[in-house]
Symmetry: C2
Subunit: 201 residues, 2 copies
């Protein structure tokens, strides 16, 4: 956080500084390669080659492939579009679900599904995926639900964590189990219906 700034202020960086040019080249090359390859097919060597950069330069700054891809994904144009302010918590959750589905329907959705997969194998990757993607998503929805509970919009039959699972699980399940059905009709109808399920409870 501001630690970095603080650190720089106290002790100005010694030695040669990190090359921003190389960093950008790596992220750009990664995004470019991901247009034609899956995350698993992607190799660090290919990234290094395309970015005209040594492999070491990549390994120095990222612990593994997942981290590189995650970074490339986030530092992409139009990734942080904020939501309009909702009128109530029910609507907030619906909009968050819609946003999630929209995101997963794009080319990036494929990449995210692959990162999710990678996370199943590698604990290190799991942490990165969780911290960079899953937790922010879940926390945001959980927050709206908690507030909705407090304000009487949602019932208390399920604990918040389970409600999040019930809302998000089907989205990921459909994406990963039968992607052909992950279509516009689903995006259109699912969020409202899913939320209506838990409104009463």
């Amino acid at each position: 956080m501001s630690n970095a700034v603080l650190k720089e202020e106290i002790s100005p960086p010694k030695g040669r500084p990190r090359s921003e040019k190389s960093k950008n080249a790596i992220l750009k090359a990664t995004n470019s390669l991901l247009l034609h390859k899956s995350v698993q097919e992607l190799s660090i060597e290919a990234i290094a080659k395309k970015a005209k950069v040594g492999k070491t330069t990549i390994y120095r700054w990222w612990p593994n492939k997942t981290a590189v891809v995650m970074d490339a994904l986030i530092n992409q144009p139009g990734m942080q579009t904020p939501l309009p302010t909702p009128r109530n918590n029910t609507e907030a959750v619906i909009m968050q679900l819609e946003k999630l589905i929209r995101l997963l329907q794009s080319k990036n959705g494929e990449v995210i599904a692959q990162l999710f997969s990678e996370a199943q194998t590698n604990p290190e990757s799991h942490k990165i995926f969780e911290n960079s993607f899953l937790s922010p998503l879940i926390d945001a929805i959980a927050f709206s639900i908690d507030r909705g509970k407090a304000e009487g919009e949602f019932g208390n039959t399920f604990d918040t964590k389970t409600i999040v699972d019930i809302l998000c699980g089907p989205i990921f399940f459909r994406l990963m189990a039968h992607r052909p059905d992950f279509d516009d009709a689903f995006q259109e109808s699912y969020p409202r219906k899913a939320v209506s399920l838990i409104r009463a409870n």
Copy 2:
């Protein structure tokens, strides 16, 4: 299916028959290695070495690693325990969900999650996983739901496919996103509550 029998009746197999001993050794070695390795870490070479079998013997009978692991998983003791006959469709679905969670809680659950992941990358693996695991599971639940709809136990707000997603999605999501919470309490409470959600609709 019976095609195999039919084929044998028409043209009895020529040449040296497949060695059941090798087949069993391969499946056993696979299961054994999976106790300490992930599916992705598992190598065909390691299986061959442990089973004291030529690599070619494996490649001859299985198209890829996923197929071997899937086969090893199915041909495991206590894998096909039939369900007791339910009194109604609601109960049938509950029992199926309980069975699924129980299965995923065992060591096999980890392996299945990894196979699910592998399926995201490789279309070939996806087909195998779908045919051997996902489809049977989904079809069974869908059948109960359809009958439940016809008999008035369930409503028609959601189409059957979406209901299956709503019931199964959270299970896989919790397994893959935050396994620590995939515990006994979840197994105990989730199926009944989840089904109760869709009873009214």
